[in-house]
């Protein structure tokens, strides 16, 4: 193995080692099973992953293929950095849940297992993206989802949490069965499990009905994972039941992983049949935006609200798949990075306020102006207001759809974005106009303050920084 291979494989190696490091530290160096040392270990490992990804991207190398089963390309590194970053923020968000607040018992127990599972999920997502054959792809997907089932039901004695986890498991297993049925048809068509062989088979027989059926099965499964309408019913219940940090991780990293999975297949071996699926993408995108936006309008609970909001965002995200590969991947990377930052910031503010309802932030501007400002930036970015990075993300996605000649769909998406303004502004109105409740105590530790400041600065800065734009599209265009 030469230096080049080693540098590109280092982020994956660290990300897959992270759960074991956390587990080891919890077993041998953490007799009281406190949350803080475990969380710090995870943070340090994930920071190392982020540094390694940055180094590998800066190295400017093209893709590397390892044992014909594992591939690392620059755009994948970008996704991996997103997973590591989301896990890092979610872990910081989760730490206070393990300490009882004001004499109450802790809401979550066993921090070692929690952070290990979080790291396993991030590692599995990274494995999914780098797969070069169907077995690796399957293992990655399962490694990403099984820990999430456990995390979604982590409030073991809470009925909402178990019920949400049960629904998630049933829907997730159904998606697994569909995706496996698709894989079996692909295997039957090509006779091999390697992506190269699949691509070669499709090049020789472009309209193979077996492969078309397989693509439909696989896309259905991915629609479940992305929570596209009409396969979105599980998302609000799961988010509602899951602990807040897990809901934040689900709505960001898990969504990015599902999008990455679609890129791996539909811009990889299945690329020749993507144009045939374009009408399906377009219709599902439109329906998903509408359902997500209409659903968000009447939500009182913050997590359900964010669930519908992220369903709507998944609808916009699907527009990217109408474009050609380089532009589509660039637009996706840009949109997902910004969406991750804004969503994590919004979730973090609610985690600090410790509220269940959307109204928990009432009057935040009067009591904690800095937190209210972060919330403002996050929701303005999600809504796509021009000076913020969220606008550019949406702009690239709409450009992708317009480039494919679907102007009607773009118009529909713009109208949907206008509808979404209403409910995002509702939260801002609550934070800035409503009177604050009596007796709300919000403590912001110093590292959290820095983290939130960083997220807010990124939301403002990325939009005004053309270098970020260039970096994203350059990473997407390199093979």
């Amino acid at each position: 193995m030469n230096l080049h291979t080693a540098i590109l494989l280092l982020p994956d190696a660290l990300l897959l080692a992270a759960p074991f490091i956390v587990l080891f530290v919890d077993l041998f160096f953490n007799p009281q099973h406190d949350a803080r040392p475990v969380r710090r270990t995870l943070t340090v490992t994930l920071l190392a992953v982020l540094a390694a990804t940055g180094a590998a991207l800066a190295w400017g190398a093209p893709e590397v293929v390892f044992l014909n089963a594992y591939r690392v390309a620059p755009w994948m590194l970008w996704f991996k950095a997103c997973f590591a970053g989301a896990a890092l923020v979610a872990a910081r968000m989760a730490e206070p849940c393990f300490a009882g607040a004001e004499g109450q018992p802790a809401r979550l127990t066993r921090p070692g297992e929690f952070f290990t599972l979080l790291a396993f999920a991030a590692g599995g997502m990274s494995l999914t993206l780098s797969a070069r054959d169907l077995i690796t792809l399957f293992i990655g997907l399962e490694l990403a989802t099984i820990p999430l089932y456990v995390l979604a039901g982590y409030y073991r004695r809470h009925e909402d949490s178990t019920e949400g986890a049960m629904k998630y498991i049933i829907m997730g297993s159904l998606a697994t069965a569909f995706v496996l049925f698709g894989y079996s048809l692909l295997y039957g068509a090509a006779g091999h499990l390697q992506f190269d062989a699949l691509a070669a088979h499709l090049a020789a027989h472009p309209g193979d009905p077996l492969v078309r059926a397989a693509a439909l099965f696989i896309f259905t499964a991915a629609a479940f994972k992305l929570a596209l309408a009409p396969f979105h019913m599980w998302a609000p219940d799961v988010y509602h039941g899951a602990p807040l940090p897990v809901a934040a991780f689900l709505s960001t990293a898990s969504k990015a992983a599902a999008a990455g999975f679609l890129v791996v297949l539909f811009y990889g071996p299945l690329a020749p049949i993507r144009p045939a699926l374009a009408p399906v993408f377009a219709i599902l995108a439109a329906v998903t935006m509408l359902v997500g936006n209409l659903g968000s309008l009447r939500q009182e609970n913050f997590r359900r609200f964010m669930a519908y909001s992220s369903i709507a965002q998944a609808g916009y995200l699907l527009l990217a798949f109408l474009a050609e590969r380089d532009f589509a991947v660039g637009a996706l990377l840009y949109f997902l990075t910004v969406y991750l930052i804004a969503n994590l910031a919004a979730f973090f503010v609610y985690a600090l306020v410790r509220g269940e309802g959307v109204a928990a932030v009432n009057g935040l501007a009067r009591t904690h102006p800095a937190l209210a400002a972060v919330l403002l930036l996050a929701f303005f970015s999600l809504a796509g207001i021009p000076p913020l990075a969220g606008f550019n993300g949406k702009f690239w996605l709409f450009t992708a759809a317009a480039g494919a000649g679907r102007y009607g769909l773009v118009l529909f998406a713009v109208l949907n974005a206008v509808v979404s303004l209403y409910y995002y502004m509702n939260v801002i109105r609550a934070a800035y106009i409503e009177p604050p409740p009596v007796g709300r105590s919000v403590k912001v530790p110093r590292d959290v303050a820095w983290l939130l400041a960083l997220l807010a600065a990124l939301l403002l800065g990325l939009a005004l920084c053309p270098a970020f734009n260039r970096a994203v599209f350059a990473a997407a265009a390199r093979p």
Binding site: A177, Y187, G188, D237
Partner: protein, 101 residues
């Protein structure tokens, strides 16, 4: 016994799984339906490996991976079923309406 027979059998078993998933109300029945769908997938893989594939080992190995990974998935599912059973006895899906989609 040829490839078509096996594929038709697999499709029927898969359809039974989907039907069971839509019709049954008990959580254990739902899990059994999902197992049926997974078994259909395995029949597909073995049939393709036996009759058609250029690389028959890969298909057989994939089946072993499916068995291993989906049992991990089902183990988690049963753990959640146990937790649910302790909270309320009837495992009826119709009553899982605390959270409505």
């Amino acid at each position: 016994m040829n490839l078509t027979n096996c594929l038709v059998l697999a499709a029927l078993v898969f359809a039974c799984g989907v039907f069971g998933l839509l019709r049954s109300r008990h959580i254990i029945n739902l899990l059994i339906s999902i197992e049926l769908m997974l078994n259909a997938v395995m029949i597909n893989f073995i049939a393709f490996a036996h009759f058609r594939a250029a690389d028959p080992t890969a298909g057989s190995v994939f089946v072993i991976f499916i068995i291993a990974l989906t049992s991990a998935e089902m183990a988690v599912a049963l753990a959640v079923v146990m937790a649910l059973y302790r909270q309320r006895h009837p495992l009826d899906v119709e009553r899982m309406k605390r959270l409505r989609g």
